[in-house]
């Protein structure tokens, strides 16, 4: 089955794959929360439940050779790019079997071999880095594209604007994706910037931008494919604003009390997994039972991955040294 007439290119098996991926990310994040509460993961975590469609739909627009940067809230992108859950858990447990050998932790799930060239703990810092990757492609005439994922709050820091400006004058093959989840830590968007539609921030930089339903994985995907392929064809950068919501608090055990009553519930009514689930059920591609089986299997896999991760060894201080300087 293909999608509706205006989405001709999405095959059913692709939709099912995305369903799988979103479920996997959701359960992964819930497990992280559990492991954090029980002390297996320390420090801090920033979870992305509710934003899975942004990660999955956009990452699916990448082709081999494309790269992206993301943030401390980057588990969704990392998993969508194919990082093993056990490797991700191991990283968060500080084990040498983690993606960054355990030195990075929750804020730095990185895998260069899969195009995941950075998860940054400094707001805004990943954007010019992705632009640099895009410029490398452009200077070498390679048909590759760089993406950068970041939050609504990041659009207030200067580096965002500096990057838009450079991307525009250089017509870099860069796709910038705002996961606008309405909050920067505890601050609602409307308190820290004067507009609701952040896509408008692209206007004076002469960069095309669009506003996308970030809960609809298909919408996310189509918008991103259009941007990525225009970039690949030499059409320059795009800014995409994905309207989304984080179902959990900002980090750790933030209860997110600063949210107006009913807001979270309204957004949860548009849970990206449910939206796709309904669609797949209605089209007959994946029955509710089949969906349930996927969830159960995914849960088992996640649990197993966490168990496996917990067995990983720690890096020795001596081994750590080699991670600082390259030869």
């Amino acid at each position: 089955m293909s999608g509706s007439p205006d989405e001709p290119s999405i095959q059913t098996d692709e939709l099912v794959r995305w369903f799988h991926q979103m479920v996997r990310i959701r359960l992964f994040e819930e497990k992280v929360q559990e492991l954090f509460m029980t002390g297996h993961i320390q420090g801090t975590t920033h979870l992305c439940q509710g934003q899975e469609a942004v990660s999955v739909g956009a990452i699916a627009a990448m082709r081999p050779g494309d790269v992206q940067t993301n943030t401390y809230r980057g588990h969704g992108e990392a998993l969508a790019l194919g990082m093993e859950a056990s490797v991700a858990f191991a990283e968060m447990m500080g084990r040498s079997t983690g993606g960054s050998k355990g030195v990075g932790g929750s804020m730095h799930l990185i895998d260069f071999s899969k195009g995941n060239i950075g998860a940054n703990a400094i707001v805004g810092a990943g954007i010019p880095i992705a632009l640099g990757a895009a410029m490398a492609f452009k200077l070498r005439h390679e048909p590759r594209v760089a993406l950068s994922f970041f939050g609504d709050g990041a659009t207030n820091i200067g580096t965002f604007h500096e990057s838009l400006n450079m991307a525009s004058i250089w017509q870099a093959p860069l796709v910038m994706i705002i996961a606008n989840n309405l909050y920067a830590e505890y601050s609602p968007l409307r308190d820290t910037t004067p507009i609701d539609d952040l896509a408008r921030k692209a206007d004076p930089h002469q960069i095309p931008a669009s506003i996308v339903d970030g809960q609809d994985v298909v919408a996310v995907h189509l918008a991103t494919v259009a941007a990525v392929e225009r970039a690949r064809a030499g059409g320059g950068p795009t800014l995409l604003e994905m309207k989304t919501y984080r179902f959990r608090g900002h980090s750790r055990s933030d209860p997110a009390k600063y949210r107006p009553e009913g807001e979270a519930e309204r957004w949860k009514a548009r849970d990206p997994i449910d939206l796709l689930g309904v669609r797949l059920a209605e089209s007959g591609a994946l029955s509710p039972d089949a969906q349930e089986r996927i969830k159960v299997e995914a849960q088992a896999a996640i649990d197993a991955a966490a168990m496996l991760a917990a067995e990983g060894p720690y890096l020795s201080l001596e081994e750590t040294k080699a991670l600082v300087y390259a030869d």
């Binding site: 320390q42 050998k101 820091i157 201080l317 600082v324």
Partner: protein
């Protein structure tokens, strides 16, 4: 417990109160805001839910409009604080993590310290930066710096670092009252620590170190979390017959060299305990100044520091391995004293 302190003719009551480091910061902020309507607090989420580390509880309610949430733009809002200061206010800027100070590098390095000078002394810049510092929290490579020495070379700036509730209260009040830009470091690993605060009275003068334990055999110089570890080491060593003097440096700029030097003249030995790389830090500067002053030593000076060539890592055992422990401090002191 309540005593009376003489303050410029007036008697200011001093009360000794036990509280947490977090509450001591909150109290200092509250007192200074009450004292001077020009004191405002700026930063990301400073007015939300008590602040990210709960240091700002009740301040927004008590001082309406004076606890100001900012967008995420450290360089911008540090510049805003500078402009406010030029117009006679006394802003306090919160950096949620010290690691974000480089994001405001221009305002911190080129503007705050130089602004008065470039104007030929026409203005003053009473801005306090609260820099939330340090490791042990498993916050990883980009959220664990103390940054206490990053800006110590800059004329025009002052830098201090609090080791305890008492010093946090004293130093933060001194910083806010100071007519020059001050970076006040508070260690996020210490927020829950309890201790006595001498509430009331004027804060001790800028630039004064404190001898927090006396001893004749060796001088340990430390800041922030390293002070409590140095004290723990000193207790261990006492049982072994080694009497360590512990100096809480408190001010990184200006350095209180007289206090350190006179202690080292007495003990003849010095060990630096620092949660930073030795190169380019206050520890190296202290040792250099002691050497240049020609103070005779019984043993070469030593430093317990972060490794020169390893970043702070998330992995708990690795983080524990690189941040100087009381044991490592004791070990180095022991070898310094025993030779």
């Amino acid at each position: 417990m309540s005593t009376l302190t003489e303050t410029k003719g007036k008697t200011a009551p001093t009360v000794d109160v036990e509280m947490t480091y977090r509450d001591a910061i909150n109290l200092a902020l509250a007192e200074e805001m009450a004292r001077d309507p020009g004191v405002v607090l700026l930063g990301e989420d400073v007015a939300a839910a008590g602040g990210v580390f709960k240091t700002n509880e009740r301040l927004p309610e008590r001082f309406p409009g004076r606890v100001i949430n900012t967008p995420i733009c450290e360089n911008g809002f540090t510049g805003v604080a500078l402009g406010m200061a030029l117009m006679g206010m006394r802003p306090v800027v919160e950096f949620m993590f010290s690691d974000f100070m480089p994001t405001a590098g221009d305002q911190i390095m080129n503007q705050l310290p130089k602004y008065r000078f470039m104007s030929g002394g026409q203005c003053s810049v009473p801005v306090t930066i609260r820099s939330i510092s340090g490791g042990t929290g498993r916050f990883g490579t980009q959220h664990s710096a103390t940054g206490e020495s990053w800006f110590m070379s800059l004329p025009g700036l002052r830098v201090c670092a609090a080791s305890s509730p008492g010093s946090a209260y004293d130093l933060l009040r001194a910083a806010i009252r100071e007519n020059n830009p001050v970076i006040f470091h508070e260690h996020k690993g210490l927020y829950g620590r309890k201790g006595v605060v001498h509430q009331g009275g004027p804060p001790p003068p800028v630039g004064q170190a404190a001898i927090v334990r006396s001893g004749r055999d060796v001088t340990i110089v430390a800041t922030m979390m390293m002070v409590e570890r140095a004290l723990a080491a000193a207790i261990t060593l006492e049982a072994e017959g080694i009497a360590a003097e512990v100096i809480d440096l408190r001010w990184v700029r200006p350095l209180d060299l007289p206090t350190v030097a006179s202690s080292v003249r007495r003990t003849g030995r010095v060990v630096i305990a620092e949660e930073q790389v030795h190169a380019g830090g206050w520890g190296a500067t202290v040792i250099s100044e002691l050497a240049m002053a020609g103070i005779p030593l019984h043993a070469a000076p030593r430093a317990v520091s972060l490794p020169a060539d390893i970043c702070v890592s998330y992995s708990p055992p690795l983080e524990d391995a690189i941040i100087p422990s009381a044991e490592r401090i004791a070990e180095v002191v022991r070898s310094t004293v025993r030779g």
